[in-house]
Symmetry: C2
Subunit: 362 residues, 2 copies
C-alpha cells in the first residue's frame, strides 16, 4: 500500500524494526540515554534551546497540554483558525474555560497577519493566540514568522500547533519567539503514533506558574522535573520512542536542510501533477502546504468512490475531507518518508481511476 | 535481561513483531476490524458487556479520564488508598477540583471494607469512591468484591484502578458492579506502553452526562461516538494496538482461567521463594498480590546497591520502592509474560548477590 494520508505516515523499515526491540525499564539507565538522545535531536529540529517534553498522547493531547499549562479559566484567547484543526485547538481551549475570540479564514486561505494585528489591537486583554502552523485539513501553511512578530509586539503568548509542520516545513521556535510548539510522532517524524513532543519557552514557563486550569497527566511542571533526570513522569510509549530515535537518526543523516528541501520539491511536484490532471487545488499560492495537498473533487465524482477505487485497484490510500470539506476535497500527503516515486505513483493512479470514472458521467 | 519490574513488562516475540507491521490508516477498514477484535476480547477479560474505550496514554491518563468524565468540581470523593498509586488517584481527583476524603491504610495492608462502610455512612454526600485493585507499589490486592458490595449498597460510583490487576488477577466488572475500570497495555497485557483501556458502565455514563470537570482529549463521549464506528477520536497508538491484539490472541489461546491460575501459582512460588531466602514480605496474607511482590530490604543492605548488582551481575532487573517505601523495599514483578523459570532465576540471582553482599556487613 502507498499510504499517503497526512498521518499516520509510513515508517521506514528500520524505524519499525526498532519499535520491536525488547522492552526496557523506564526508570533505568538505558531509558535515560534514549530520552537524552531523543530530546537533544528534537531540539535541533525544533530549532530551540527550550525544553522539549515527551508526552504519551496524540497531537490533540499536546494541544490540550499547551492550553491547560499556560492559561486560567476565563482568560481571553484569540483562536486563529484556517480549518478544522484550528477549530479543534479553539474547542480545546473553550472546553477548559477560556473566553474565546475566533478569527476564522475561509478553507484554502491562510491567516492574514494584519487581521491578527487588528484583533489583538481591539482587545488588549487577550492573553494567548492559538495558531496552526500547517492546517492538515486544507493543505495551508500559515505565515507563522509574520504572525509571531505581530503577536510578540502586542504581548500575548503564542501557542503553535505544528503537528503536521515540524520536520517537514521550516519553523524557527527560538528565532521566531514561539512560546509553545506541539507536534506528534506519526507525522513528518516517520514514527508510529503515540508520542507528542512539545517545546516550552521561558514566557510559557512564567505563564505555567500562574496558570490555574486543572491538569495532572499533561502537567508540564511534572514533565520538566522528570525530563531533567532523563525520564517522564508516567510510563512513556517506549516502543514508539525506540522508533522515534531511529527516525531521528535518519533525519540527522539526511540533514534538516535537505529534509526541508525534499518536502519543498515534492510539494511542488504534487501540485504540478495535480494541475496537469486538470484538477483544482484548494490552496493556490505561497501558502500551499509542502506536507499535504488538498484537491477539489471534480464535478460528478464522489470522493468516497474515488478513494475506494484508488485503494482497491491501485493500492493508493488518500485521505478524504474533514468537517465542512467532507465530500468536497481529497488529500494527498507528502510528509515524512516520501520520495518523488511515491507521488508519481499517486498521480498515475489518480489518472487511471479518474479516466475510468469519467465515462460513467455520460 | 530478565525484566521483572511491574510494568513495562516483557513482551513475547510475536507481540513485539506485530508492533513492527506496516502502518495503516486509522480511518480505514483494517483499523476498524483491528479495533473491533481488540475491544471484544478486552470485554472478555474485563468480564463486562460495557464499552471498553481505548485511550492513547499511560494508566495515569486513564485514571484522570475516570475522574474528569464522572465528576464535577466540588464533588465529594472518598479516596481509599493503600499506597502511592492510591495516593496518585486521589491527587488526580484533587487537581481537578474534587473535595477529597482520604481513607489511607498502612503500606502492606489492604483496605478494610468495614472502614469504607463507616466512611460512606459518615458522609452521605460522597459521590464516588476511588479504589485501587492492585497496589503496584506495595504488592497488595484489595478485596474489590467486598468493597464493591458496600459501595453499591451506599450508592456512590466506584472507580477502580486495575492498572496492574486485570489480566493477572480475578476481577468481575459486571458481576461486581464496577462503574469504571482502568488498565494499561504495559502490565499483564504483555504489550508495550502507550495504550490505556477503560470500561465505562451505565451508571458512569449517567454521571458523564452531568459531570462538569473540563475535558477534551480524554472525553468518554467522543471516545464512545468513535468506538461505535470502530475508531478512536484522535489518532491512536496503532503499533501498540497491533501488539495488543497479538497479546490478546495469546491470552485467548491460553484461556483466561489458565492465565489467572498461572499468576496465582507464580505469585505463591515467588513469596515462598523469598521467604526461603530468609527475607520478609511487605504484604503477608490473602491480600498478598499475585502480580507483584514487595520485599523488605534486609538490614544493612542498600536497595539501590542490590538492584545495581542484580542487573550488572545477574541480568535481573527488579524495581525499587516508591514514595515512603523508597530504600525500604524492592519489588519482583510476576505479571504478564512470566513462567516459573523467570522467577526461579530471580530467586537464584537474589541468593547469589545477597550472599556476596552479606560478608560486607561484617
Amino acid at each position: 500500500m502507498n499510504l499517503r494520508i497526512p498521518g499516520p505516515t509510513p515508517c521506514p523499515p528500520e524505524v519499525r524494526a526498532a519499535g520491536a526491540s525488547p522492552m526496557i525499564d523506564h526508570r533505568g539507565e538505558d531509558f535515560v540515554s534514549l530520552h537524552r538522545r531523543i530530546v537533544s535531536r528534537l531540539q535541533a529540529v525544533f530549532r530551540t534551546r527550550n525544553e522539549v517534553l515527551l508526552l504519551t498522547s496524540s497531537g490533540t493531547g499536546a494541544l490540550e497540554a499547551a492550553v491547560v499549562n499556560t492559561l486560567s479559566p476565563g482568560d481571553r484567547v484569540l483562536a486563529v483558525t484556517v480549518g478544522p484543526f484550528g477549530d479543534r485547538f479553539a474547542e480545546i481551549a473553550e472546553a477548559h474555560g477560556a473566553a474565546l475570540t475566533r478569527l476564522p479564514f475561509e478553507p484554502g486561505l491562510p491567516a492574514d497577519p494584519a487581521s491578527v494585528d487588528r484583533a489583538l489591537a481591539a482587545d488588549p486583554s487577550i492573553r494567548a493566540v492559538l495558531l496552526t502552523h500547517n492546517e492538515t485539513a486544507t493543505g495551508v501553511t500559515n505565515d507563522v514568522r509574520s504572525i509571531s512578530r505581530i503577536v510578540r509586539a502586542r504581548g500575548p503568548l503564542l501557542l503553535v500547533d505544528s503537528v503536521s509542520g515540524l520536520a517537514a516545513l521550516p519553523l524557527e521556535t527560538d528565532g521566531w519567539g514561539l512560546d509553545v510548539v506541539a507536534t506528534a510522532s506519526q507525522k513528518a517524524w516517520m514514527t508510529p503514533p503515540g508520542v507528542a513532543m512539545v517545546s516550552v519557552g521561558p514566557r510559557a514557563w512564567e505563564a505555567h506558574a500562574r496558570a490555574r486550569m486543572p491538569r495532572f497527566y499533561f502537567d508540564f511542571g511534572r514533565a520538566r522535573e522528570f525530563a531533567s533526570k532523563g525520564q517522564t513522569p508516567w510510563t512513556p510509549a517506549i516502543s514508539v520512542l525506540f522508533s522515534l530515535s531511529t527516525a531521528l537518526d535518519r533525519i540527522e543523516r539526511e540533514g534538516l536542510d535537505a529534509v526541508l528541501d525534499r518536502h519543498r520539491r515534492i510539494g511542488a511536484r504534487t501540485r504540478d501533477g495535480v494541475r496537469s490532471l486538470g484538477l483544482r487545488l484548494l490552496a493556490e499560492g505561497p501558502h500551499a502546504s509542502d506536507s499535504v495537498t488538498a484537491v477539489r473533487a471534480p464535478d460528478g465524482i464522489e470522493v468516497s468512490d474515488l478513494r475506494r477505487r484508488l485503494r482497491a485497484e491501485q493500492g493508493v490510500v488518500l485521505a478524504g475531507g474533514q468537517g465542512s470539506l467532507k465530500g468536497k476535497v481529497f488529500r494527498i500527503a507528502h510528509l515524512g518518508w516520501v520520495e518523488e516515486r511515491e507521488i508519481d505513483e499517486v498521480l498515475q493512479a489518480l489518472r487511471a481511476v479518474l479516466a475510468s470514472l469519467g465515462p460513467r458521467k455520460g
